[in-house]
Amino acid sequence: MMLRGRDGCKLIAEKPKNYNAMPFGLLKYGLSKEYPAHQHFTPKTDLKPHYDVVIIGAGGHGTAIAYHLAKHHGIRNVAVLDKGYLGGGNTARNTAVIRSNYLTEEGVNFYRESVKLYQNLSNEFGYNIMFENRGQLTLAHSDAAIRSFRWRAEVNQHLGVRSELVDPQMIRELVPNLRVQDDARFPILGGLWHADGATARHDAVAWGYAKGACERGVELHQCTEVTDVRISNGRVVGVETPRGYVEAGCVVQAVAGMSSVVAEMAGIKLPIHSYPLQAMVTQPYKPLLEPHVSSPHVHVYVHQTSRGEFVIGGGSDPYALYNTRATLEQKESLASAVLELFPFLAQAKMLRQWAGVTDMTPDYSPIMGLSPVDNYYLDAGWGTWGFKATPICGQTMAELVATGRAPELITPFALDRFYDFRQVNEAGATAASH
């Protein structure tokens, strides 16, 4: 007997009864109407003519904002629109470094709250985001780096973040497989040890937020690109999509690399340049490396996933581009840099490589809050550092949308800081550290 697919095509030959009963039992279970697969997200429906809030971009940020609006502010007539699929942008492409050891008071306070939310996120969702508190070590190869790390450690400790300067001996104990030798090309003089550093399954973060939002009535519409933003008397009134026009009470844009392109539809110019950021992973190995290790000096950072792969990332591409192509130059530079730190990787084979388009600001801090257009809110400028901010971004942006006022935690990141020359400079604490 043959099993038949829905359109009558032959699928697989059925094995005789009792032979290999387990897989067959599973197949029967899977196809049975009595045990339907649980629907996490909105089934494909038409767009409604009006939503109280339209969120452009279904990455971690867009879905987190929707989740907080529905859960904490009772705002449920919300649509999250994405031109691609859920979490398919930089949320799918990042290297999942979570940390809060920034340099400015504004930055540290903000990212610290995000790390705290991450620690409880699996419980909050009832959905495993595989959060792991691994610690993060940033290496100093120069006296100048040691001085800046001492400064960062002081600021961090003052604001309640676990961060300390460590010497080469301590580094050997923290990362036994790291090459810490005086005859290295760039000897390691010390490091900034951040015990709160962590990682999580990046896709699961977007899935968890989207699931929680959809369960509370939010609609997720994938393959729905916003092609224009309609404004009337200085106030946003709706968005155009290939599936029709949608009226909106408020609009939030959370589109990462496409920030300038979408903002332009609303007539807003941003202090952003979009640059590709490339990364790659090796074949899996047995557990050899517990914390994240980052070297801003040789431009590389690396950690080993729970699957055993070494994830390797570094600096941005040398020029602006809206394209996720790879370059041999960048891959070579990552490979040679990582061998400075972990020579045993010389024999490793690369399994995958990819890139994402990142929305870089001049001060390496985000742009969050009000825009020149009424009821149009900005969540942009996340560059190479926005995955770690996903939970706090959801919380604070939702409060902004619900109340019309920016919570204190994000007021330093308003767009008008560039007119007032009040930048929040995180360049040194971001660069190749992520």
Binding site: V261, K269, S274, Y319
Partner: protein
């Protein structure tokens, strides 16, 4: 290897060049207010498509303009500032 055609040195590997950001005319410092200065310094069109931008051939410190497609990563044309100004003038 990606090549960029330097108006002074001819085709060279793109790694020999530094990217200088999009071209926009500098405002007149006598008549410009602080807001317009901030915009000139920090804000960009950041267009997805055809752009005009500054590049520098680093070993020879030679600055010039390039027309590039930021979606396809293709350099369409490179020209000196003088050539660019001449072209603009002839277009009226």
């Amino acid at each position: 290897m990606k090549l960029l055609n330097c108006p002074l040195n001819g085709p060279r590997n793109i790694t020999e060049f530094s990217y200088g950001g999009e071209y926009h005319p500098q405002p007149d410092d006598q008549t410009t207010d602080a807001n317009a200065w901030a915009e000139y310094v920090f804000f960009h069109h950041n267009k997805a498509g055809l752009v005009l931008e500054w590049w520098c051939h680093t070993p020879s410190s030679f600055w010039f303009l390039a027309e590039r497609n930021t979606l396809t990563d293709e350099v369409i044309n490179t020209l000196t500032l003088a050539e660019f100004k001449l072209r603009e003038a002839s277009r009226g």
